[in-house]
């Protein structure tokens, strides 16, 4: 029983990280109608940027994170301008292929700059707190707290600001958003900025929890896609639910399966959904072709 609770804790931690990644992905998928395969590698880049600010400039960890989030946001807007915007009318497949190219470029530039070995934000092992038989690393609390704070900020942004509402509108019905007179390019820029800032945070928290290595974001991409599809493409709230569910199922699956298969679990869930309920469990998005 305690083991299950412990796994649930790990599941919540992993799930929170996935949530942060999934919100960004679902927004760009819903608004721009393309599955951004470079999303995971932006997470990785964000984590390494924070590392750079920490050890290159000597900034405190929190400041490094914020700086990395801003840098990531700016970079994402620039990449959109250079690569995705010219291709916007060519269809979702071309954009997907282009994003794979971007993903590989980012990942391998990271390899060139930092090398393939693991990196860490800090040395030494943290001693877990014992609480009712559970082992909780202080970092876990930071991760849960940070994720919750960011998600709350995103919620307030989407709910109460003009741009936030416009983002939800565009995710709902892109053609109508154009017709209504919404400045769609501005909304797109904000979407990239916010989505990427969140994924940078996700990468950072992942690196904090485990370690940094060039494939870290890519390894999490399939679970993030699963969460997005589970929650319904274009629905940030669905992504929040989806992320937690995927995180929990992945960790709980280790009761029956080898830990190496954790990502496969997420993938199987996703395939199942695509076949039975492509609109996600809340039936908010997606479409069947034939």
């Amino acid at each position: 029983m305690i083991e299950v609770a412990q796994l649930c804790l790990y599941g919540l931690v992993l799930g929170s990280i996935i949530v942060l990644g999934a919100i960004g992905l679902t927004l760009t998928y819903g608004i721009l109608n393309f599955a951004n395969f470079a999303h995971g590698d932006m997470m990785t880049l964000g984590a390494y940027l924070a590392l750079f600010f920490r050890f290159g400039f000597g900034w405190p960890l929190g400041v490094s994170l914020v700086a990395a989030m801003i840098a990531g946001a700016v970079l994402a807007v620039l990449i959109d301008r250079a690569v995705y915007r010219p291709l916007r009318n060519r269809g979702s497949v071309t954009l997907l292929i282009a994003s794979i190219g971007v993903a590989l470029i980012i990942r391998n530039l990271i390899r060139v700059a930092w090398g393939p070995d693991n990196q860490y934000y800090r040395q030494g092992i943290q001693f877990p707190i014992r609480w009712h038989g559970l082992r909780i690393k202080p970092d876990h609390l930071w991760i849960l707290g940070a994720a919750f704070a960011l998600v709350l900020l995103v919620h307030l942004f989407l709910r109460y600001t003009r741009i936030g509402k416009a983002m939800r509108a565009m995710a709902d019905n892109r053609e109508l958003a154009m017709v209504t007179g919404i400045d769609t390019e501005r909304v797109v820029r904000w979407t990239w900025a916010i989505g990427t800032a969140l994924s940078v945070a996700a990468g950072f928290l992942l690196g904090l929890d485990t370690q940094l290595f060039p494939d870290m974001g890519w390894n999490l991409l399939l679970p993030i896609f699963s969460a997005v599809i589970l929650g319904g493409i274009g629905s940030p709230y669905g992504a929040m639910a989806g992320g937690l569910i995927i995180g929990l199922t992945q960790e709980l699956s280790t009761l029956f399966l080898s830990t190496a298969y954790k990502p496969v679990v997420a993938f199987v869930i996703m395939i199942f959904l695509l076949l039975i309920r492509p609109g996600g469990i809340f039936q908010t998005g997606g479409a069947v072709k034939l």
Binding site: A166, R168, A169, D172, E175, L176, M178, V179, I182
Partner: protein, 234 residues
Amino acid sequence: MATLLVRDLVAGYGELDILQGVSIDVNAGEIVTIIGPNGAGKSTLLKSIFGLVRIKRGTVTFMGEDVTGERPDRLVMRGMCFVPQNRNVFPRLTVEENLEMGAFAARADVRDRIAAVYDLFPPLKEKRRQPAGVLSGGQQQMVAIGRALMMHPKLLLLDEPTAGLSPAFQRMILEKVVEVNATGVPILMIEQNAKAALAISHRAYVLTMGRNRLEGRAADLLLDPEVGQLFLGG
């Protein structure tokens, strides 16, 4: 000065020309209706004017300025607003948020404009916090038109406003169209429900196969035997 002048418009998708040289006028304060058989190009005409379909030849002049092929969001800034036929609300946004989006380009007095829309469509006020997607077809149509009015448009384009609605709602919508027009907004409208539309319009055009067929005062067209046979069900 005419509000809208369309001259010899040729437009379509890809290689297909749906419109083959259409001309219409909308003068200040008028309600102008376009009727015609399916596939005549009525919807394409509206979409071409509004920058959603590519114009190959011809001109569109709005308030004296050439706006041929201009982008929809710029046209909204100029004061032209469009209510599409289908999928014309944001389903997951509340009624009030839908209206707010209509005024995205405006900076000031959004609250007042929303209040004005509620005056026009009272049922919306009590449903303002509900997601637009759960409303009935007629109520959604009210939201869609209300959204277009948020910019105090100088021209309102309506694509089949009564499509798919019950007879009671059809009557109500057309009454509201008259009410909106009475505040000084010229309206260009497409309608399948030709008889009811002609009854509230000042002038009308009949389009067939992408070309002008007939035009004149709506009252005259209502009595025209050819129109009667083709569109008014005898």
